[in-house]
Amino acid sequence: MNAIRYETPRSVAEAVRLMAADSGARVLAGGTDLLVQFRAGVRQPSAFVDVKRIPELMSITIDGEGLRLGAAVPAALVFEHAELRRLWPGLAEAVALIGSTQIQGRGSVGGNLCNASPAADTTCALIANRAQCVIAGPHGERTVPVDTFCVGPGRTVLEPGELLVAVHLPRPAARTADAYLRLIPRSEMDIAVAGAGVSVTLDAAGACTAARVAIGAVAPTALRVPEAEQALVGSPLDEASLQRAAAAAAAAARPIDDKRGTAVYRRTVAGVLTRRAAAIAAQRARPGNGHD
C-alpha cells in the first residue's frame, strides 16, 4: 500500500485541483468523523487534504447579507462568536452540542454537514435558517440549499473533485429567531436520538408570519416539515398551534429502530422537541428579547 499523502492547500483552487486529481483524496477539516472512520477501516483515503489553511473555509463574516461561515471553522470558534450567537442562537446551540469540549475544538459545521449523519445536530439548525451551501469544484462554484445537500446516510450532492467552502445564512428579518433541541440519554456526549430546529418570524402583533421546521435522526437525512411550518404560520404560536406543529412533525418522521432508540420513541420525541423548540424560538422572537 503506498503511503497516504497529507496535503495543505492554501487556496480553494489548489484544494479543488488536489481533490479533482485524486478520487481517493478526502477533505480533512476537524477530522472528528473522518479519522474515526479511517481508524475503523470504514474509509481508506489516498490523501488527507487539510483545508484549515484556506482563509475562505476558516472565516466567519456577518454583514447586511447575513452570515458567511467557513466550512472548516471549529465549532468552538462558532459558539464563541458573540454576534453569531445573538443572531442565530439556535445554530449556536446546535454547534455547542456536537460532542465534547475537546471535539468542539476540532469538529466543524461543514464537516458535520458533509459527514451527512441523519442525526447531525447542525443540519436541522441550518435548514431552519434557510442556509445555502457554497460548493467549489472543477467546474467552478455553485450554491445549493442545505435542505438538498444531504441525500442519504453518509452521502451528499458533492461531485468528485468538489468541496464545501462555506454556508451562507440570510440575515434574520426583524422578530425572527431560531432554536435547536435534541434528545440524548445522557446530558452530554451522545449522538442525537432525535433533534428539531425551528425558526419563526412574528408580525408586530405577535402572530407567526413565517416558519421553518427541520427534524433530525428520524429519516435518512434531516427532514424539513412543511406541514409543521403551516401549522405555525398565521397562528399566535399558542399551545394549540405548537401542538399541531408537533403532531405534523411526528407524522412526517420516518424513524428506524437501532441501538440508540426505537422508531416509536423517535417519532414521539420528534414531536415533543418540535413543540419545545418552536416555543423557545417564539419567546426569543417576541419583543424585547434581542431579535426586534
Binding site: 503511503a3 480533512l28 472528528t32 479519522l35 481508524r39 460532542g99 465534547s100 469540549t101 471535539i103 452530554e188
Partner: protein
C-alpha cells in the same frame, strides 16, 4: 515509505520528528517522542484521556493528525508544572484526592487548565459540562469538580 518531517513546539520547546501522514498526534507524542503522560482510552474522541492543547485550544490528540502540528504549539500534561512547582490544578487534585487510578488525571488537568484560561470563575455546572468529555470510572467526578473549583478560587482570576 517517505516520512513527513514535522517542526513544532511542545511545552514551549522546539521539537522535530518524522511521522507517517496518517499517524495521530497522540501516537507521535507517545511512541515517537516518549511523552506518555497523554493517554489513549478509546481512539475515537469519546473519553478525553488524550486531551492536549493545540495553539491553546483543547483538542483530542487521537483525532489530530501528527502533521497538523507543524508550525503550531502543543501543550501536554508534561508541560504544566513550572520547574519544581506543580501547577495549582496538580496540587489541588492531590489535596482533594481527586484521583484514584490516575489514568484519566492528565486529560482532566489539561482540560481544566483550558477551562480556567477561558473562564477563571466557572460555576459547578459550567465546570461539569466543560469536563463532560473526560470520562472517569473511579471517582464519580465529585472530588475532581471540587478540586477544579477550589483551584479557581485560589487563583481568583490570575491566568491558570
Amino acid at each position: 515509505m517517505t516520512k513527513l518531517h514535522i517542526e513544532t513546539t511542545i511545552n514551549g520547546e522546539p521539537v522535530e520528528f518524522l511521522c507517517d501522514a496518517h499517524e495521530t498526534l497522540l501516537s507521535a507524542l507517545r511512541n515517537g517522542l516518549g511523552l506518555t503522560g497523554t493517554k489513549e482510552g478509546c481512539a475515537t474522541g469519546d473519553c478525553g484521556a488524550c486531551s492536549v492543547l493545540l495553539d491553546n485550544r483543547l483538542v483530542p490528540a487521537c483525532l489530530v493528525l501528527a502533521p497538523e502540528a507543524h508550525g503550531r504549539a502543543v501543550t501536554t500534561i508534561e508541560g504544566l508544572s513550572r520547574g519544581d512547582a506543580l501547577h495549582p490544578l496538580q496540587r489541588k487534585f492531590l489535596e482533594h484526592a481527586a484521583l484514584q487510578c490516575g489514568v484519566c488525571t492528565p486529560g482532566f488537568i489539561v482540560a481544566a487548565k483550558a477551562l480556567l484560561d477561558a473562564n477563571p470563575n466557572p460555576s459547578e455546572e459550567e465546570t461539569r459540562y466543560w469536563l463532560a468529555g473526560n470520562l472517569c470510572r473511579c471517582t464519580g467526578y465529585d472530588k475532581i469538580i471540587r478540586a477544579v473549583l477550589d483551584t479557581a478560587a485560589e487563583m481568583k482570576g490570575t491566568p491558570a
